[in-house]
Amino acid sequence: MAQGSGDQRAVGIADPEESSPNMIVYCKIEDIITKMQDDKTGGVPIRTVKSFLSKIPSVVTGTDVVQWLMKNLSIEDPVEAIHLGSLIAAQGYIFPISDHVLTMKDDGTFYRFQAPYFWPSNCWEPENTDYAIYLCKRTMQNKARLELADYEAENLARLQRAFARKWEFIFMQAEAQVKIDRKKDKTERKILDSQERAFWDVHRPVPGCVNTTEMDIRKCRRLKNPQKVKKSVYGVTEESQSQSPVHVLSQPIRKTTKEDIRKQITFLNAQIDRHCLKMSKVAESLIAYTEQYMEYDPLITPAEPSNPWISDDVALWDIEMSKEPSQQRVKRWGFSFDEILKDQVGRDQFLRFLESEFSSENLRFWLAVQDLKKQPLQDVAKRVEEIWQEFLAPGAPSAINLDSHSYEITSQNVKDGGRYTFEDAQEHIYKLMKSDSYARFLRSNAYQDLLLAKKKVWLP
């Protein structure tokens, strides 16, 4: 096996890609694994176990690992610890010595730690040629423990077909590896063989098992060596080593320009001038909001009559579709102006109230501007004109009351006729309605009667 003696880490980790998402996880796992093996600070006991006529070197039990994880990572539930252990195994840092499937069990099953040479943080993407060499070499060694599993035999057969033309080369490499292996001490070989096998269990997993080397394609371009020629596990160099079939996404690296920094400075100055709230106030506000809405949150307070997903009864949704709002729903309209505007039925009730006071033009204007913003681009100019004529032009049938400043701005905007023509006006009308009409609506008999379920809604 092409492993240099004392070669703890084939490729160093101290380089810019340390911050790539995969590396962050690998670093954390390596930290855990290192601590686990450190007997000075309460690591897991690593033993040589006697079995029949031979010894099993350098193993730990599943129970010990799970216990250690619970104690050192403050995990209360063993299920969670087992799950984390399984993930660490699936990533390739620890493995069961008698199974190709990489999971962790909370029992006496034996596990071994993976050699740093094979750690995923070295960004191995082993080629099929390497895998072929490996499987080939396994068949050359006459050991029961190295017998190929069914899926491995199938893989080998497929590779023999695929590499028919260069099989001689592969065979030679396999022989060379066998020679190197023979020179090693028996116990060392047992350990190395198992570690090598575990490496391949990660990169060529048992069918049906998760392939943990699969990457999120959006993050692929930050691989350590996306364009470089692959390094071989067995040190094999070939003329025609193929590129990884990863979709290499091109992103020109944009250097920060002076203009970028000037913009940043402007932005920072604006932020410094911003008026912010104290944390205590913010905390009170977040708590108050949450407490107010807890009774409306079906995942906290069971929905009435029932949650359709639990009971398979859609009564809840039917009630919501009907025009008869529940008391709870009516109560919600009083939480904020936005609440009543969001709710179709609430909006209708509010509109009727305003109509009874002959002041519905404000709400109708607000609704018209909301609708304007939803229009496709080609219809915007027309709608702007319509809204202007209806609500703002001299002699408009539904004239709204704007202060002269807003009116000025709006009439200027109308000339361009864009989607945001009436933003300023809409904001003014919103504030006006909120402080005046909305407040009166909440105090009105119409609303109070609904709230106390004394009356039904006004129907059109």
């Binding site: 996880v25 796992i29 984390l84 940043q264 400075i265 913010v282 506000s285 909001y289 409306y296 936005d338």
Partner: protein
């Protein structure tokens, strides 16, 4: 710079603007010219600007950042979880899977709920007949429920009108709306079927008119791929938040295209952002294995949701209706449920057999759905048990 100790009162035509003014001598590249005072001042400030090196600008920016941090720290008088100590604890949560959807032949990458609270659209990495590109990373339901938008490695966002006629070829009715120069990572309709907001690996977000395909506004500022976005829930809202591989979360004004607030406390890519239901705050999920809560009024990170035993990245986050619970899907196949106010974990949900890639609470909050690389979607809900 002009030498102002010699003020020669010459009146004549300025060498720059040619207006009849009082002139003073000015040296430009060792050539003496006569400028009026206005042009002389302009030249002086320009000279100043040219003297600003990248380094001096950077150090100015750094000192401003320090000052900003100082100012914000003054308002940091208490922690959210401390104030929240008086809030009643939630007790045990039991979440059950109500539906497991197995239609996909490959990894589920994205999902969205229809406003009817019952239907879901999801996308995956597969060679499906109807969608012509593999790796569809983003999908969204139109507010009317009559169309969906999706896109991914094709760098586009396309809108497909929905039809229940199985014989109709959906691909034929497709309308290409957005064009980016790199993969599409997220898309969302605004409160109308007529506009779509997109985020892309090209580092920008953009707002598009669906009918014409015209770009209405673009948003530049992220220093790397933008991975996620969420529109503010306000009725009059014109803002949205985006998160990217530059570890920044940015809040944008849709009208002007300007960034109005930015937050940079995560240690790795931000995979998911979602507004708190009141719109005053938002949560983020990141590859640094934490979720964080940022409040817009405090302009600060106000909570961090993490545990020593959680070491894999959070891929997707969403709030329950009241904002009390934060659901987060992780790359370790689990979903952690957090108490937003107290900062503690309420529950951990197992079930998926590979990464959880997407997670959304239904529009009325009655359930939440998670999609995973294990090819399935699970709809879950739960009840609360008292202590």
């Amino acid at each position: 710079m002009c030498d102002q100790t010699f003020l020669v009162n010459v009146f004549g035509s300025c060498d720059k603007c040619f207006k009849q003014r009082a002139l003073r001598p000015v040296f430009k590249k060792s050539q003496q010219l006569s400028y009026c005072s206005t042009c002389a001042e302009i030249m002086a400030t320009e000279g100043l600007r040219e003297n600003e090196t990248l380094a001096s600008l950077k150090s100015e920016a750094e000192s401003l950042k320090g000052k900003l941090e100082e100012e914000r720290a003054k308002l940091h008088d208490v922690e959210l979880h401390q104030v929240a100590e008086r809030v009643e604890a939630l007790g045990q949560f039991v979440m059950k899977t109500r539906r497991t959807l197995k239609g996909h032949g490959n990894k589920v990458l994205c999902m969205d709920w229809c406003k009817d609270k019952r239907r879901i659209v999801s996308s995956s990495q597969e060679h499906a007949v109807t969608m012509p590109c593999t790796w569809v990373m983003a999908c969204a339901y139109a507010p009317s429920g009559c169309a969906i938008a999706c896109g991914g490695l094709d760098n586009k966002c396309s809108v497909y009108p929905l039809t229940f006629d199985k014989n109709e070829n959906m691909a034929a009715k497709k309308k290409s709306v957005a064009m980016h120069t790199n993969y599409l990572s997220a898309c969302s309709f605004t409160n109308s079927d007529m506009q779509i907001l997109t985020a892309s690996g090209d580092g920008t977000c953009a707002l598009w008119d669906v009918e014409s395909g015209q770009l209405l506004q673009s948003f530049h500022g992220h220093g790397a791929d933008v991975l996620c976005l969420d529109l503010a829930p306000s009725e009059t809202g014109n803002t949205f938040v985006s998160g990217g591989c530059d570890k920044k979360a940015m809040v944008w004004d849709m009208r002007s295209g300007q960034c109005v607030q930015a937050f940079e406390t995560h240690e790795s890519d931000i995979n998911s952002v979602r507004y708190y239901p009141s719109g005053d705050a938002f949560a983020s999920g990141s590859d640094d294995a934490t979720c964080r809560l940022y409040d817009l009024r405090a302009d600060r990170e106000v909570a961090i949701y993490s545990k020593e035993s959680i070491i894999f990245g959070a891929s997707s986050v969403d709030f329950s209706l009241s904002g009390r619970l934060l659901f987060a899907g992780y790359n370790d196949y689990t979903i952690n449920v957090w108490d937003v106010l107290k900062g503690s974990r309420v529950s951990i949900l197992f079930g998926h057999e590979n990464r959880v890639s997407t997670l959304r609470v239904s529009p009325d909050g009655t359930a939440f759905c998670s999609g995973s690389w294990d090819h399935t979607l699970r709809v879950r809900d739960g009840g609360r048990w008292a202590f």
